[in-house]
C-alpha cells in the first residue's frame, strides 16, 4: 500500500519536509524515517524523488480505510 518500505535511510529528513501530506516522520529513537500516517499518502512519489539515497519504495495500490458508523 502506498509507501511500502524505507530501506537504507540515512536520517537526513528530506522526505519528511518534502511530503505534501505529512506522511513521514523521523523516529525519535532510531532517527530514521518511518511511515507514520500511511492513510494520508497521495502516491505522488515526491519523497522518493527527493531521497538522496533512493531508500523509498512505493506501490500504486492503496486500500481505503474501513467505513465505520460513527466518528
Amino acid at each position: 500500500m502506498s509507501i511500502e518500505k524505507i530501506n537504507g535511510c540515512i536520517g537526513c529528513g528530506t522526505c519528511v519536509k518534502t511530503c505534501p501530506t505529512d506522511v513521514i516522520r523521523l523516529d525519535p529513537k532510531s532517527g530514521k524515517a518511518i511511515i507514520k500516517y500511511p492513510a494520508d499518502c497521495q502516491i505522488c512519489h515526491l519523497c522518493r524523488m527527493y531521497c538522496p539515497v533512493d531508500a523509498i519504495t512505493i506501490s500504486p495500490e492503496k486500500s481505503i480505510r474501513v467505513i465505520v458508523s460513527w466518528g
Partner: protein, 579 residues
C-alpha cells in the same frame, strides 16, 4: 480493549478524562457499547504549548510558484518579507507537478496580444477577466526568463531552483507551519496565525500586508496531487470578511480506473519530467464533458480520443463553442506550436490511456477561477492589505474552463510578482498594527480546540463522509436542484454538528482537523453557488438548466460572510470590478 496505562502512569489529562467519565463509561458498558469510541487519545499537553512571534512588512503564505514570485518581488520592491509554508518551498501544492509553462513572446508569436485575449474570451464564453488574461501573457516571458536564470528548466524537482533566489535575498522561509487564521485589526490586515506540524508551537506572524499564495483545494480526492490543498487561504480570508468567487466551477480531470489513488502512475511518469515551455494553444478543455458521458453511458468508460465515435452520438451535455471543437475546427484553429507535433488523431494524451474514472480532482475548480475576488488588476482583495495570487485568487485569468495550455503555472508566477510589488507599495503607506493579547488568546483557543476535546469526531471520518456526499458524479458534476439541496442538508449537518466536534490527537491530526473544517465550508460554498447559477456554462453543468442563459448569467458569483455571520451570495457582472 482500552489502552493500558500500566507502564508509566497516566498523564494528568488522561486522569481527568477517566475520573470524569466513570459514570458515563459504566452506563455505556451496561448497554454493551464499546466505551472507547470517539475518545481523544492525545498525549499532548495543550497547557504547555509554546508561542513564537515573527514580524515582517509582507507575509507570503504558501511556497509554490505564486509564493516564490510574491516573496522575491516584494523583497525587490523594498519590503522585509517572510514566507511561511504548510509544506516545503517548491514541493507542496500543485507546483511540483506542473510541467508546462506558457511564455508569450510578441516577437515570435503569430497571434497578437489582442487576438490572444479575444480567443481566450471566446473559449471561456465570457467567464474570463480579460485584464488578467492579458496581464498573464504580457508578463509571462519576463517571469520565465527569471526562472531560467534560477535553473528551473534544468531540474525535475523545484526545491533547489526555488531556493536560489530566496537565498540570494536572504528571505526567511518558515516551513511545515499550517496557517489557520488571518488577523484583522481596524478593518485592515494585521497578520496571521497557525501552528507547527513538528513542535507544539503556535506561531503569530505580524505583518503590514499578507499575500495568500495558498493554492486552490479539493476534497482530498484520489488520483490528483492536491490532498494538501483544502482551500485554506480562501476560508481564512472568508472568515475575516473577504469576498470569494468561482465556487460553482469544476476541474474535470479524470483518473485511472486501475489504482485510482496513484497520482504518479496515473500521470504516466510525467512528474519525473523537466518543465517545458508552451506557446499559444487555446483549448476549451477539462470541463465536465466526460462526466456527462459517464452519467449517460456508465462508468468506467474507455477514454476515447478527441472526436472519436465513442464520444459522439450522445445528445445534450455541456456546450462547447464550435471554434474549439475537438472534432475539427470551425473558424481559424490555432496552429500547433513550432517544433511540436500536433496531437495524433486517434491517439490518447500521454498517460491517459486505459479506463478512466471521474472525480480525481474533486472539489477543485478550473485554475485561477476560484478564490479571493480581486478588486483591481493588482491582486488586491476587499480587505486592505490582503492580496492573493495564483490559484488562491479568483482572477478568472483563464475563465471557467481550461483555455491556454501552460498558463496556470505562468499565471501564478505573473500574479505572484504583481501581488508582491503591490503589497510592498501598500506597506509604505501603513504602520504595523498592534495585535492585542486577548485577540491572540481567542485565536489560540480556536486553533487548539480539536486537541483539547476529550471526545468528538476524527477528521479522517468526517472527511470520508464529506467525500461520500460531494464527490458523486450526480452531485458535484452533473448537477440537479433536488440532489444539491439534499447534499446541502448533509453538509449543513457536518458544519453545525461535526465541525465543532472535530478532535485531534497530535499535530498531524490537528492539521487534518483544520483542513476538514475548510473543506466543509468550501463544500457549502460550492453547493450554494451551484444552486444559484441556474444555467450551464463552461465547467458548470446543470441537467435541469442545460442551456447558457446570457440574459441573466453574464455574471460571476461572489460569496461573503454577512454581518449576521451567514453565508451570502451576490452577482458581479462579467468584465466589472466589485462595487
Amino acid at each position: 480493549m482500552n489502552n493500558s496505562d500500566s507502564n508509566t502512569g497516566m498523564t494528568r489529562r488522561k486522569f481527568i478524562t477517566v475520573a470524569g467519565g466513570v459514570a458515563g463509561l459504566a452506563a455505556l458498558g451496561s448497554m454493551g457499547i464499546y466505551s472507547g469510541w470517539g475518545k481523544n487519545e492525545t498525549e499532548l499537553n495543550t497547557e504547555e504549548m509554546m508561542n513564537e512571534e515573527h514580524s515582517s512588512d509582507v507575509l507570503v503564505i504558501g511556497s509554490g510558484m505564486a509564493g516564490l514570485f510574491a516573496a522575491v518581488k516584494a523583497h525587490d520592491a523594498g519590503s522585509k518579507v517572510i514566507m511561511v509554508s504548510k509544506g516545503r518551498l517548491g514541493s507542496s501544492g500543485q507546483t511540483p507537478f506542473a510541467k508546462g509553462i506558457f511564455a508569450y513572446d510578441s516577437k515570435t508569436s503569430e497571434v497578437n496580444l489582442d487576438e490572444f485575449v479575444a480567443q481566450v474570451s471566446r473559449s471561456a464564453l465570457g467567464t474570463n477577466n480579460p485584464v488578467y488574461t492579458r496581464q498573464m501573457a504580457e508578463h509571462s516571458l519576463a517571469r520565465v526568463n527569471e526562472l531560467k536564470e534560477w535553473g528551473f528548466f534544468d531540474s525535475v524537482l523545484y526545491n533547489k531552483p526555488f531556493c536560489k533566489p530566496m537565498a540570494q535575498r536572504n528571505i526567511p522561509v518558515v516551513e511545515r507551519i499550517m496557517i489557520t487564521n488571518l488577523v484583522k485589526e481596524n478593518g485592515r490586515i494585521a497578520g496571521a496565525a497557525g501552528f507547527s506540524l513538528d513542535e507544539e508551537t503556535i506561531h503569530l506572524f505580524k505583518a503590514k500586508s499578507v499575500i495568500l499564495c495558498t493554492g486552490a483545494g479539493g476534497f482530498k480526492p484520489n488520483g490528483f496531487p492536491i490532498c494538501d490543498l483544502t482551500h485554506d487561504g480562501t476560508i481564512m480570508a472568508y472568515q475575516i470578511g473577504a469576498k470569494v468567487t468561482g465556487k460553482e466551477w469544476n476541474d474535470g480531470h479524470p483518473g485511472k480506473a486501475k489504482n485510482p489513488a496513484a497520482c504518479f502512475d496515473g500521470w504516466g511518469n510525467m512528474f519525473e519530467r523537466k518543465p517545458e515551455l508552451t506557446s499559444v494553444e487555446i483549448h476549451h478543455d477539462l470541463g465536465v464533458d466526460m462526466n456527462y458521458l459517464a452519467y449517460m453511458k456508465g462508468n468506467p468508460f474507455k477514454m476515447g480520443p478527441p472526436g472519436s465515435e465513442e464520444n459522439i452520438n450522445i445528445s445534450g451535455g455541456p456546450c462547447r463553442p464550435a471554434e474549439f471543437s475537438r472534432n475539427g475546427h470551425a473558424g481559424e484553429p490555432p496552429k500547433p506550436p513550432k517544433g511540436k507535433r500536433p496531437p495524433k488523431k486517434g491517439g490518447t494524451p500521454p498517460g491517459m490511456g486505459g479506463n478512466s474514472v471521474g472525480g480525481s480532482s474533486a472539489g477543485m475548480a478550473i485554475h485561477k477561477s476560484e478564490g479571493l475576488v480581486p478588486i483591481n488588476d493588482k491582486c488586491e482583495s476587499n480587505i486592505p492589505g490582503l492580496y492573493a495570487a495564483g490559484d488562491a485568487l479568483g482572477s478568472y485569468m483563464a475563465g471557467a474552463i481550461y483555455t491556454q495550455v501552460g498558463s496556470s503555472l505562468a499565471g501564478s508566477a505573473v500574479q505572484g510578482g504583481i501581488a508582491g510589488e503591490a503589497a510592498a507599495e501598500y506597506c509604505k503607506t501603513v504602520e504595523m498594527q498592534t495585535i492585542l493579547p486577548v485577540k491572540m488568546n481567542e485565536i489560540q483557543e480556536e486553533i487548539l480546540a480539536p486537541l483539547k476535546r476529550e471526545s468528538g469526531y476524527s477528521p479522517a471520518w468526517v472527511t470520508q463522509t464529506l467525500q461520500g456526499i460531494m464527490i458523486p458524479n450526480f452531485i458535484l458534476y452533473i448537477k440537479k436542484e433536488k440532489l444539491m439541496q439534499a447534499a446541502l442538508a448533509y453538509i449543513e449537518e457536518l458544519r453545525d454538528h461535526h465541525m465543532p466536534m472535530l478532535r485531534a490527537a497530535d499535530m498531524h491530526e490537528l492539521r487534518l482537523a483544520h483542513e476538514t473544517r475548510n473543506m466543509i465550508i468550501s463544500a457549502e460554498m460550492k453547493l450554494k453557488a451551484s444552486i444559484m447559477r441556474k444555467e450551464s456554462r463552461c465547467s458548470h453543468y446543470r441537467l435541469d438548466y442545460p442551456e447558457m442563459d446570457n440574459e441573466n448569467w453574464q455574471a460571476w458569483i461572489n460569496i461573503f460572510k454577512g454581518d449576521d455571520g451567514e453565508m451570502k451570495l451576490e452577482k458581479q457582472a462579467f468584465g466589472s470590478w466589485p462595487v
